[in-house]
C-alpha cells in the first residue's frame, strides 16, 4: 500500500503545471531529436543537459530537471520510428529494427498504419515497463542498501564486463574505450590524497604556452581558464564532444547531406483505422513490452539490442515468419514496444544502484550528481520527493508522448524535410553554448570540440565510444570504491573475489561481491572462450 500511496503523491506532483509543461516540452524535443537521423536520445539528453541547470534553479523542484530529461528520453524512443518508416533510415539506433517492417509497410502505402502501430506499441511498452519499474525499484534499492564498497565496485566491474562480453563490438577497442574513459576521470585532483595528478601543465608551463601562442589572459582571453587540466575533465565536455560534434561530423560524412523521404498523408480517420489495426500487432507488442524491460536492465544492453531481440523473438515465434520483412505490423510493434520498455528498464539500475547501463542513463546519472542528488539505494529512502514524482512522470510522459505523437505526425514529417545544412550548424551552436553555460569556461569549450573531432576519427575506425562516456561518469566512484575496499583489506584483492575473506575480523562470509566479480570475469573471458570453442570446432570439421 505504501508504494501505491507514494505513487499517487508522485503522480499528483508530476501533473503540477510546471512539471506537466516540462514533460510536454521534453517529449516534443525528444520526438524531434529521435526522428532526425543522426541524433538519438543520448545526443538530445547530452546537448540539453546544461539547460536543466537553469530549470533546476528556476523551479526549485528537485524532480523537475529529471522529468524534462526523462521526457526527452521517452520522446526520442517514439520519434525514432517516424524516420525509420518514412525515410527508411532509422532516426536513432534504437529504431533500426523498426525499419525492417516499417519501411516495407510505407512502400506499400501503409505508412500511416505503421506510424500509428509504432506509437501505440510504444505507449503499451512504456506503460508496462513503468508498472514493472514501480514494483521492482523500491525492492531492489532496499536490497542494495546493504552493499558496501567491494559490492559496488564489483557491480561497476560487471557493467564494464558486459560491454566486453555482450557489446558485440571489437573487443580490444571496447577495452581501450573503457580504460581511456576511466583514465580521463582521474585527471585533476586525487579525491583521496588531495594531490594533483595528470595535470600535464603546471602554472609555469601553462604561462609559457600562452606566451608562445601570443595570447594573454588580459588582451584576448583564449583558453581563459587558470589551471587547465587541474580542473579535471568534466563529463559533459566528453559527452557533448562525442555526441554533439563527433556524431554530427560522422553523420554529415555518411549522409552527405542527402536524405530522401517517402510521401505520407495522415488524417484523423486514418489514425482511427490504424488504432483498430492494432489487433494484428498485439503479439509483437506483448513480446516487446516484456522482453524489452529485462534486456533494458542489463548493463550495456539497453534499447537497441532490446528492440533487435524482440524483433527476432517475434519473428521466431510467429506462425508466418516469412511475412516479416515484407511489412508485418507485428514486426513494427515488437521493436517499438521493446525500445520504450527497455529505456525504462535501463533506469532501474541507474536509480537504485547508481550504475547506469547505457550512455543515455549515464548522462542522466551525471545530471543527477550535478543537481546535488546521490543516485543509489539511499535515493529511495532519503529523497522520496525526487523519486516518486519522477516515477509518476514516467506514466504521464508516456501518455503525453503518444498523444503528441499521434496529433503532430504531419508536423514532424514537415520538420524531417528540414535540410541537414540548417540542422547541423544549430546542433554545433547548441553544443558550444551549452558547454559554456555549464562551466563558464572557454577552455572546456575548446576541449569539447577537440574531443568531438577525435571522436569522429575513432568512430570511422570502429572504436565504440559509449563505454568511454559511461566510464567517465563511473570513473571517480569506481576508483574511490576500489581504493576504500583495498584499504579495508590491506591491499589484498581477495576482498573482491573470495567470499571467505574476513573483512571485519568476525569471520562473516560475503557472497555478493565475489559472485558479481566472478560473473564479470567470466563475461570478460567469454569472447576468448567462444573463440577457442569455434577454432576447435573448425579444426575438427577440417580433420
Amino acid at each position: 500500500m505504501d508504494i501505491i500511496a507514494a505513487l499517487m503523491d508522485g503522480l499528483w506532483i508530476a501533473v503540477q503545471p510546471h512539471n506537466l509543461a516540462l514533460a510536454v516540452i521534453g517529449v516534443v524535443v525528444g520526438l524531434f531529436v529521435g526522428a532526425l537521423p543522426g541524433l538519438g536520445s543520448v545526443n538530445g539528453v547530452a546537448i540539453l543537459l546544461p539547460f536543466t541547470f537553469v530549470i533546476n534553479e528556476a523551479t526549485a523542484d528537485p524532480a523537475a530537471p529529471m522529468i524534462f530529461l526523462a521526457a526527452i528520453y521517452y520522446g526520442a524512443m517514439y520519434g525514432g520510428a517516424i524516420s525509420s518508416i518514412t525515410l527508411g533510415i532509422p532516426g536513432a539506433s534504437t529504431a533500426v529494427a523498426t525499419t525492417f517492417d516499417g519501411r516495407p509497410m510505407a512502400l506499400k502505402g501503409q505508412a500511416d498504419r505503421a506510424l500509428v502501430t509504432a506509437a501505440i506499441a510504444s505507449f503499451i511498452g512504456g506503460t508496462v515497463a513503468t508498472l514493472f519499474f514501480t514494483g521492482f525499484a523500491p525492492a531492489l534499492s532496499a536490497v542494495a542498501l546493504d552493499f558496501g564498497n567491494p559490492e559496488i565496485f564489483a557491480l561497476m566491474l560487471l557493467a564494464f564486463a558486459t560491454f566486453v562480453g555482450l557489446g558485440g563490438d571489437d573487443i580490444p577497442k571496447t577495452l581501450f574505450s573503457i580504460f581511456f574513459g576511466l583514465l580521463l576521470a582521474t585527471v585533476g585532483f586525487d579525491t583521496i590524497s588531495g594531490e594533483p595528478r595528470l595535470i600535464f601543465f603546471n602554472d609555469r608551463e601553462q604561462a609559457a604556452v600562452m606566451e608562445a601562442v601570443g595570447a594573454s589572459t588580459d588582451a584576448v582571453p583564449f583558453f581563459d581558464s587558470v589551471g587547465w587540466f587541474s580542473r579535471g575533465i568534466q563529463f559533459l565536455v566528453l559527452a557533448i564532444g562525442v555526441y554533439g560534434i563527433g556524431e554530427m561530423l560522422w553523420t554529415i560524412n555518411a549522409s552527405r547531406y542527402k536524405i530522401t523521404m517517402s510521401e505520407t498523408t495522415i488524417s484523423g480517420r486514418r489514425i482511427l483505422s490504424g488504432i483498430a489495426g492494432m489487433r494484428d500487432a498485439w503479439k509483437g507488442t506483448t513480446i516487446g513490452s516484456l522482453l524489452g524491460f529485462f534486456v533494458g536492465i542489463l548493463p550495456a544492453a539497453g534499447a537497441t539490442p532490446g528492440s533487435l531481440m524482440a524483433y527476432g523473438v517475434a519473428k521466431m515465434t510467429s506462425r508466418n515468419p516469412r511475412s516479416y520483412g515484407e511489412g508485418n505490423p507485428d514486426g513494427v510493434a515488437a521493436p517499438e514496444a521493446a525500445n520504450n520498455s527497455a529505456s525504462t528498464g535501463a533506469m532501474l539500475p541507474m536509480m537504485t544502484l547508481g550504475i547506469p547501463g547505457s550512455p543515455t542513463t549515464a548522462v542522466l546519472l551525471a545530471g543527477m550528481v550535478i543537481w546535488g542528488l546521490e543516485p543509489g539505494p539511499r535515493l529511495f529512502e532519503d529523497r522520496p520527493e525526487f523519486v516518486w514524482p519522477l516515477i509518476g512522470s514516467f506514466y504521464i510522459s508516456n501518455l503525453v508522448a503518444v498523444l503528441v505523437n499521434l496529433a503532430f505526425i504531419p508536423l514532424f514529417l514537415a520538420v524531417l524535410r528540414m535540410p541537414f545544412t540548417i540542422l547541423a550548424p544549430v546542433i554545433f551552436v547548441l553544443s558550444v553554448i551549452g558547454t559554456y553555460a555549464a562551466y563558464d569556461n572557454m577552455y572546456d569549450v575548446w576541449l569539447m570540440v577537440l574531443f568531438g573531432i577525435g571522436a569522429y576519427f575513432l568512430r570511422i575506425l570502429d572504436y565504440p565510444l559509449a563505454p568511454a562516456v559511461l566510464a567517465v561518469v563511473l570513473g571517480t566512484t569506481a576508483e574511490e570504491k576500489m581504493r576504500q575496499s583495498l584499504l579495508l583489506s590491506d591491499g589484498d584483492f581477495a576482498i573482491f573475489w573470495n567470499p571467505f575473506f574476513d573483512r571485519d575480523g568476525k569471520g562473516q562470509e560475503w557472497w555478493i561481491a565475489p559472485v558479481t566479480t566472478w560473473i564479470a570475469l567470466v563475461l570478460i573471458a567469454l569472447p576468448v572462450i567462444l573463440w577457442a570453442v569455434r577454432t576447435k570446432r573448425a579444426r575438427r570439421v577440417a580433420a
Binding site: 561530423l249 540548417i422 553555460a437 590491506d490
Partner: protein, 207 residues
C-alpha cells in the same frame, strides 16, 4: 583505412606509455620523491597510492592498443581489411570546411562575443556550405542567436562571453540595458515575433 588503423593504434599506444610515465610522477614540491613510488598497491599500510589506478588504466590502454595492432596485422578487424581511404576527398573537404568553421567560430567568440560569433557561423554554414538563399540565411543567423540571447542572457541570466571590450560596449551593453528591464511577457513577444519573421522568410524561400 588499413594504414590509419596502424597509425592510430600506434599513436594511442605512445599516448598510453606517456600517461603511464605521468601517473608515476610525484608532487612538484617533493624533491626526494622517487618516480613510480605512488603507483604501489599498499603504501605504508594506507592502500594504493594516487598513481596506482591511472598507471594500471594506462597499462590497460597500452595492452589494448597492442592487441588492436596484432588484430590489424592478422587483418582481423574490418578497418584493417578495408581498401577504402580513411578520409576520401569529400570527407577531407568536409572536415576542413566544417571543422575549420568550428575552430573559427571558437576564436570569434573571444573577439566578438558568443552571439555575434553564432551569427557569423550560422551565416557561413547556411550560405556557403548549405547554399541556401541569402534572405533565409540572414534571417536564421540573426534569429537563432537572438533566441539564445533571450534565453541565456536575459531570462536565465546565464551570461555568455561578450568579446573585446569595445564590442561589448557597442553592442551587448545597450542590448542588455534594453532587454533586462522588460517583463517576461514582452520577452516572449520578441521571441514569437522573431520566430514569425523566420517562418515567413522560410516560406517565401519555399522551404
Amino acid at each position: 583505412m588499413r594504414r590509419a588503423e596502424f597509425v592510430t593504434a600506434t599513436l594511442l599506444a605512445l599516448l598510453s606509455v606517456y600517461l603511464m610515465w605521468k601517473a608515476g610522477e610525484g608532487p612538484e614540491w617533493d624533491t626526494e620523491y622517487v618516480h613510480w613510488a605512488n603507483t604501489g598497491i599498499n603504501i605504508d599500510g594506507s592502500g594504493p597510492g594516487k598513481g596506482f589506478w591511472p598507471f594500471y588504466l594506462a597499462l590497460g590502454m597500452l595492452v589494448s592498443c597492442l592487441w588492436i595492432l596484432v588484430n590489424a596485422i592478422r587483418r582481423a578487424s574490418p578497418p584493417s581489411r578495408s581498401e577504402e581511404p580513411f578520409l576520401d576527398g569529400y570527407a577531407k573537404r568536409m572536415l576542413l570546411l566544417v571543422g575549420g568553421g568550428l575552430v573559427g567560430f571558437l576564436i570569434l567568440i573571444d573577439l566578438v562575443g558568443m552571439y555575434a560569433a553564432i551569427a557569423v557561423f550560422m551565416l557561413y554554414y547556411m550560405l556557403i556550405l548549405g547554399r541556401h538563399p541569402l534572405a533565409l540565411s540572414l534571417a536564421t543567423s540573426v534569429v537563432v542567436p537572438f533566441w539564445l540571447y533571450l534565453f541565456f542572457d536575459i531570462v536565465m541570466t546565464k551570461v555568455q562571453p561578450k568579446g573585446l571590450r569595445w564590442i561589448e560596449d557597442a553592442i551587448y551593453t545597450p542590448a542588455g540595458e534594453f532587454f533586462r528591464g522588460q517583463p517576461l511577457l514582452v520577452i516572449a513577444l520578441f521571441f514569437l515575433v522573431s520566430g514569425a519573421v523566420l517562418a515567413v522568410t522560410a516560406r517565401r524561400a519555399r522551404y
